[in-house]
């Protein structure tokens, strides 16, 4: 009896599932291709779809003024091919309005980033007069360096406080002339078109010692500044020459290349310790590219020496 019951139940399930497959498959395939049966015209009409993704999610969608039940991300199917007015709304964000076109058997993919309405913005907790700021990118975070009427500071990540780097005050005009900043091993290097300064802000130093020292003064305009040679030197292109300055021993410098043109550019790749120079060829109007690979050069010099010995 029980075997018969199972057999019957299995046969019923088999036929039910087979019937479901036979009936539903054409419906789903037609639906997937965008067909919709219109009862009024008693015809199959080809429709399109609209897929909306937003950041942030859960945005209310209005299509031709009609509110869609589903919040984003959402897909609106069975849309007749024509143009629609799409509005995306969420409290606290600017409304996003656009015209979209729905085409038969196609999906219009809309991907929108909503901008929040700006109400109150965060201000640092202290009332310094900020002349200039730099964002120094690091591996996981960034540091903000500010030149103020009270000295040079690093802001803490939460803007609650600030770490004084140097008590030296640059005038507003001088601070605004600063073009770039490099930080390495608590040494801060910054420059404008004429000068390069260095501040040694390592913990061993007292604050009083953290005076921005004039590191280099150019005869013309400083074009490029890089850190290089195992991060021990600052490499400067001053429009006349490429000069390297030892960060640990101020005053020690080497002119390693004389440029042929004031518009020459340099780039120093710290990974391969290679200096690239775009410079004019002598007695021509043509610029070319040169490179100086420091590490092979060191090896070459050492083998020269061994050969002499």
């Amino acid at each position: 009896m029980q075997e018969k019951y199972y057999s019957l139940l299995r046969r019923i399930s088999f036929w039910l599932f087979s019937l479901a497959f036979v009936i539903l498959t054409p419906v789903i395939v037609y639906y997937s291709l965008g067909y919709k049966f219109d009862i009024k015209s008693k015809k199959f009409l080809k429709t399109g779809a609209l897929s909306i993704k937003t950041f942030p999610r859960a945005i209310t969608v209005y299509l031709d003024g009609r509110k869609i039940d589903e919040l984003t991300p959402s897909t609106i199917r069975e849309l007749m091919p024509r143009k629609y007015d799409l509005v995306l709304e969420k409290e606290g964000f600017y409304s996003y309005r656009m015209e979209i076109e729905i085409r038969p058997s196609l999906v219009n993919n809309v991907d929108v980033f909503l901008i929040p309405k700006i109400r109150g913005i965060e201000k640092i907790k202290f009332n310094f007069n900020i002349y200039k700021f730099f964002v120094i990118k690091q591996i996981f975070t960034e540091k903000i360096l500010v030149f103020t009427d009270r000295g040079i500071y690093f802001l803490d990540p939460y803007w609650e406080g600030a770490k004084k780097i140097s008590k030296q005050v640059f005038t507003e005009a001088l601070a605004n002339s600063i073009q770039g900043v490099i930080e390495n091993n608590n040494k801060l290097i910054f420059w404008n078109s004429k000068n390069v300064w260095i501040v040694d802000a390592s913990n061993g130093k007292t604050l009083d010692a953290n005076i921005a020292s004039l590191f280099y003064t150019a005869e013309r305009n400083i074009k490029d500044v890089f850190l290089g040679l195992k991060d021990r030197y600052v490499i400067v292109n001053d429009g006349l020459k490429v000069i390297v300055l030892d960060m640990d021993n101020l005053g020690v410098s080497f002119e390693i290349y004389t440029l042929n043109n004031a518009n020459s550019k340099i780039f120093y790749d710290t990974r391969s310790e290679t200096l690239y120079i775009r410079d004019k060829l002598p007695q021509t109007d043509t610029f070319s590219l040169f490179k100086i690979e420091i590490m092979p050069l060191i090896g070459e010099r050492l083998s020269d020496e061994r050969r002499k010995d």
């Binding site: 139940l9 498959t25 997937s32 897929s51 196609l106 993919n109």
Partner: protein, 493 residues
């Protein structure tokens, strides 16, 4: 000559069909992407329906097993109304042994000793192989341990290189059964009353297996036209086997579970039982083919002109999960084992050849059975590849080439529905598989249960790599005429 040609055509059909299905979708996508997308949608809908139907069968099979498990089969045997007498029923339990270690066979016989059926009515046949050099000594030592528990223990050693045979389990089982027949006739037993169970060396029957088998044998009016199939549960070494191996073997158990609900399609697999009289009538297991376990069913089916069935007993026999020396070796061992199982595609050739000669079976039945075998094997070789690789490939390429296609957009949605249905079935599997778990050994941490839960996440990978690929491999070899040799699964505990 003509027969040879027909055989080759039959060998080519399954592999050619599988390769056609796989390559057709890719080629079609290149030339007619929309048509390919529509076909994949239909294919996915077919599989969702099939998976949901299978989960329905799984639930029914589970319910049926639970109801059977509580029966007092031995008392039922004694009270059974039958033309045979319970007292006269003798069981021959044949263990085919190759290089399995002694402790593994001892472990299996310990299980046999603990059954609720009177062990005094059980004759054990330990069928060794001459090519495993220490066979006799090993089996003799085992027989000495258990000689007092069973009616008798017979040791047979299958001679090496017998003409007309291939190196396969079927040849060994047949030799042992023939020796057992001589023994039984000498002792005066009537073969009508003998039930033979052909077990792998690692098969550990549930305590109620033989009483359940005996009852169903007694009450079945077509007992000589019926094979009796236990539920193979691969759990003997479940706590030490790799997670992916557990998933694939539990999948095999569930597959048998589901198949057991489809009486008219159900055939013997791995360890099984049948009347000794019938076995003799059909001239034993095939000795020149690999998949002896399923072919014995088809031999009976042909012999009795289609009037032969396999009855699912729903009582488990516990077996080992095939494992290797390490994780990678387990992948290799599992792959080879599944390829050997998939070599069951030779049933299609066997049936096709015999159906052409056989006149007593209705044409419709022949077609149905051939289709059943072909459908099973072609789907086995293709479904996981199409679902796990081809469909994602079409979705990926489609997003580049047909970014705005509504059909592609909906295919992506239907694909996620298909995976959700798969998750639903996986959830069912997790719940049901918990019932098959043997007690946790003390040395195994409770944390193992966490891996038992998360192992199911490997299903898409396992279904393709250890499901479809070995099957496609087997079909391709058959198609190219590169026949598989029997590769025994290494077993150790």
């Amino acid at each position: 000559m003509k027969e040879e040609k027909i055989k080759r055509i039959l060998e080519i059909i399954p592999g050619a069909l599988s390769w056609f299905m796989i390559s057709f979708l890719i080629v079609l996508f290149v030339f007619k992407p929309l048509s390919a997308i529509v076909i994949v949608i239909i294919y996915l809908l077919y599989w969702v329906t099939r998976l949901l139907y299978s989960s329905m069968l799984l639930l029914m099979a589970h319910q049926r097993m639970r109801s059977k498990r509580n029966n007092d089969w031995l008392s039922m045997c004694k009270a059974a109304e039958s033309d045979l007498k319970f007292e006269n029923i003798i069981h021959v339990v044949l263990y085919t042994v190759y290089k399995e270690p002694q402790e593994l066979i001892v472990g299996s016989l310990k299980f046999l000793k603990e059954i609720d059926y009177p062990a005094g009515k059980v004759i054990v046949v330990l069928a060794g192989e001459e090519r495993a050099r220490d066979s006799y000594d090993k089996l003799r030592a085992i027989a000495d341990i258990f000689k007092d528990f069973f009616l008798d223990i017979i040791i047979t050693i299958h001679p090496e290189d017998t003409p007309g045979e291939i190196t396969a389990k079927g040849a060994n089982a047949t030799y042992a059964a023939k020796q057992a027949k001589i023994y039984l006739e000498k002792k005066g037993y009537d073969l009508k009353n003998i039930i033979i169970s052909c077990f792998d060396a690692d098969t550990c029957p549930d305590e109620k297996y033989f009483s359940c088998l005996t009852y169903n044998f007694l009450v079945n009016r077509k007992r000589y036209h019926t094979s009796f199939q236990p539920l193979p549960i691969y759990s003997n070494n479940i706590y030490t086997a790799a997670a992916f191996a557990r998933v694939i073997e539990t999948g095999s158990t569930f597959w048998q579970f589901i198949e057991g609900m489809r009486y008219e399609k159900f055939i013997t697999f791995s360890s099984h039982s049948m009347s000794f009289k019938t076995l003799v009538e059909v001239d034993y297991w095939p000795v020149d083919l690999i998949s002896d376990d399923s072919l014995i069913f088809w031999k009976c089916f042909l012999k009795f002109k289609g009037d032969y069935k396999t009855y699912p007993l729903d009582i488990p026999v516990y077996m080992d999960i095939a494992v290797g020396k390490n994780w990678l070796d387990t992948v290799r061992v599992q792959y080879k084992q599944k390829r050997r199982w998939a070599w069951g595609v030779e049933n299609f050739v066997f049936l096709g050849q015999h159906f052409l000669k056989e006149e007593g079976i209705p044409l419709m039945v022949k077609f149905r059975k051939l289709y059943q075998v072909l459908d099973g094997h072609v789907n086995w070789a293709t479904w996981a590849i199409i679902i796990s690789f081809i469909t994602p490939l079409i979705l990926f390429l489609g997003k580049i080439l047909l970014k705005d296609s509504l059909a592609l957009f909906n295919l992506s949605y239907i694909n996620s529905v298909a995976f959700n249905s798969l998750s639903f079935i996986l959830l069912l599997c997790i719940v049901i598989s918990w019932e098959f778990m043997p007690p946790r050994p003390k040395q195994v941490s409770r944390l193992v249960y966490v891996s038992f839960l998360f192992q199911w996440l490997l299903t898409p990978f396992v279904s393709a790599v250890l499901g479809s690929f070995p099957s496609l491999d087997a079909q391709t070899r058959l198609m190219l005429g590169k026949y598989l040799s029997f590769n025994p699964t290494p077993k150790s505990r």
